[in-house]
């Protein structure tokens, strides 16, 4: 088996474990922002889309790349903004000012 592919599998598995460890510690209070945040992060497919859109390989590929870039950007920008909007709202009980 291609050693590089094996390395990629290691990375995937390790990342999965890290993800599991981190996410089990997120309180139920923050589950909605968590969904939104992981959604925003998965918009990293923007990176792949950019290369395809800029490759100038064929008309079809460029169109697909362009749509992909647009869609992924909606995902990223929207996702980060909405997560921030949600997180801004979580406030502790204010200390009473005398």
């Amino acid at each position: 088996m291609d050693p590089y592919a094996l390395l990629q599998i290691y990375i995937f598995v390790l990342a999965g474990f890290v993800g599991y460890q981190v996410i089990t510690k997120v309180p139920a209070l923050l589950h909605t922002p968590l969904m939104s945040a992981t959604n925003a992060i998965s918009g990293i497919s923007l990176v792949g889309s950019i290369v395809v859109a800029g490759h100038d390989f064929s008309a079809l590929a460029t169109v697909m790349g362009f749509v992909a870039v647009t869609a992924a950007t909606i995902n990223v920008v929207g996702g980060f903004m909405i997560t921030d909007r949600m997180l801004r709202m979580f406030r502790r009980k204010e200390k009473p000012s005398s």
Partner: protein
């Protein structure tokens, strides 16, 4: 040189993503964490722009500008109550990008003759999961936004059809790995996956939507990971794994909170054909309705009020009025706590976000395990637009579709006031015997209006 710079930016992005998610473990560190993750994303994007394969920048730039505008508009203009739909829609976009990249890269790899079997497998997986997440998420969006019926749509032989469709697609997937030259087959797989996405979500309704949205989140992540395998991009693999793990975990947590097995939620659709309301019927039972004035008196003299928010509160956008009510109770020396059931609302954590938006301090929002024992001390349990999560049938009625689901012990409270628009059954379509209990009174009307009136009445007591 540029390749190393790109790789470094990817590494930085991966690290920042993980640190960012870790920030979400507490509300105080959450925003900072997200800023780090955003920085990571920026680093990855800027790094990619230096990629040697790129010869034209126009389409990239136009795409980014248009995408940013639409994304920002979605974030700014969609109300908090539409949060679940918004996230579903976002999944659709992300998955679309993954699927399209797969299809385009297939052609590019074929031309470069670098399309090995493993890489073909990654691309086919990416196209498959990407496509089914697109349609699945759009379906979830439609159901949540009430563009179509929220209740499960089932028909005879549905499970058999879905399974055979999936089996056929899977076989084509395997064949493609065996013979990567069959370009048309890849498109067939894409088309079939689009259909699978629709059919998968069709029979799911009601309280199960949070599980579906989490699961689709997971699939979008897996598609992103597969893209990473296909184009040798490690940050994609890592980000996809993080997203996949998160979505999957949340789905399992949700299912457990409903006391149903995960498989049952996805494939069960409450069993075919649709079970109606177990054995209990409401014929001959009366409900006690209460006026705003009487309710105000109960609330004014209560020492402990536990508020149980549900989807109805979200629909009525009544969260701010809830806070005003809480202030009235606290002014009289009472205490207000909020009982958040894990599947209240249409998304995990939905209620928390809405109440936080209303400036309710988050340490008052207690989850089911923390608060269930306190209901016995509560003078008033105020149920606002929640139905299934307080339905005693889950404890008592073996024939009920929600049997076994842990619920909030609202019936242990000294008095229960339920705010509802009408006697119509909730999203899952089940009768709720809590409403007919002698300790329970119903305050009919739109939650926002009722709460507003309740607050003004309380000021007069």
């Amino acid at each position: 040189m540029t390749t190393s710079l790109i790789q470094i930016s990817y590494l930085a992005a991966a690290v920042l993503f993980i640190l960012g998610l870790r920030g979400l473990t507490a509300p105080d560190t959450a925003r900072r964490g997200m800023n780090m993750a955003a920085l990571g994303m920026l680093a990855a994007v800027v790094g990619t722009l230096m990629h040697h394969d790129i010869v034209r920048y126009e389409w990239i730039l136009i795409g980014i500008v248009v995408g940013s505008a639409v994304g920002a508009a979605m974030a700014i203009f969609m109300p908090m109550t539409a949060m679940p739909q918004r996230i579903a829609l976002s999944h659709a976009f992300g998955a679309l990008a993954a699927a399209l990249v797969g299809l385009a890269k297939y052609d590019i790899f074929m031309a470069e003759d670098t399309l090995g079997h493993a890489r073909m497998g990654a691309i086919a997986f990416e196209v498959m999961f990407g496509s089914l997440t697109v349609t699945g998420s759009l379906m979830a969006f439609a159901k949540l936004q009430e563009l179509m019926r929220g209740s499960p749509i089932t028909f005879r032989g549905q499970n058999a059809m879905n399974i055979s469709l999936f089996a056929v697609t899977f076989c084509l997937f395997l064949y493609l790995i065996y013979d990567p030259s069959q370009r048309e087959l890849l498109y067939v797989v894409a088309g079939l996956s689009l259909a699978i996405g629709v059919l998968m979500v069709l029979p799911i309704g009601g309280a199960d939507m949070p599980v579906v949205v989490s699961l689709l989140n997971s699939y979008a992540g897996l598609a992103a990971s597969a893209t990473g395998f296909a184009i040798d991009n490690n940050v994609l693999i890592i980000a996809g794994a993080l997203d996949g793990a998160s979505g999957f975990l949340l789905s399992i947590l949700m299912s457990r909170a409903m006391n149903r097995s995960f498989a049952n939620v996805i494939f069960g659709a409450f069993g075919t054909p649709q079970v109606t309301a177990g054995a209990k019927s409401s014929a001959g039972l009366t409900v006690r309705s209460i006026t705003v004035e009487d309710a105000a008196i109960q609330m004014a003299y209560a020492r402990l009020v536990i508020v149980v928010p549900g989807y109805g509160m979200a629909v009525a956008q009544a969260q701010h009025q809830v806070r005003e009510l809480a202030e009235q109770v606290e002014k009289r020396g009472g205490e207000v706590k909020y009982a958040i059931h894990p599947v209240a609302g249409r998304m995990p954590g939905h209620m928390n976000v809405l109440l936080a938006e209303a400036n309710i301090p988050y340490d008052k929002l207690l989850d089911m395990d923390e608060i269930n024992s306190q209901f016995a001390n509560a003078d008033v349990a105020l149920v606002i637009g929640a139905n299934d999560v307080v339905n005693p049938a889950a404890r008592n009625d073996k024939a009920s579709p929600i049997y076994g689901m842990p619920i909030l012990n609202v019936d242990a409270a000294k008095a229960v006031i339920v705010m509802k628009r009408s006697m119509n059954p909730g999203f899952a379509g089940i009768e709720n015997e809590l409403f007919y209990d002698e300790k329970t009174s119903l305050l009919f009307g739109d939650a926002k209006a009722s709460l507003g009136k309740l607050v003004s009445e309380m000021k007069n007591v």
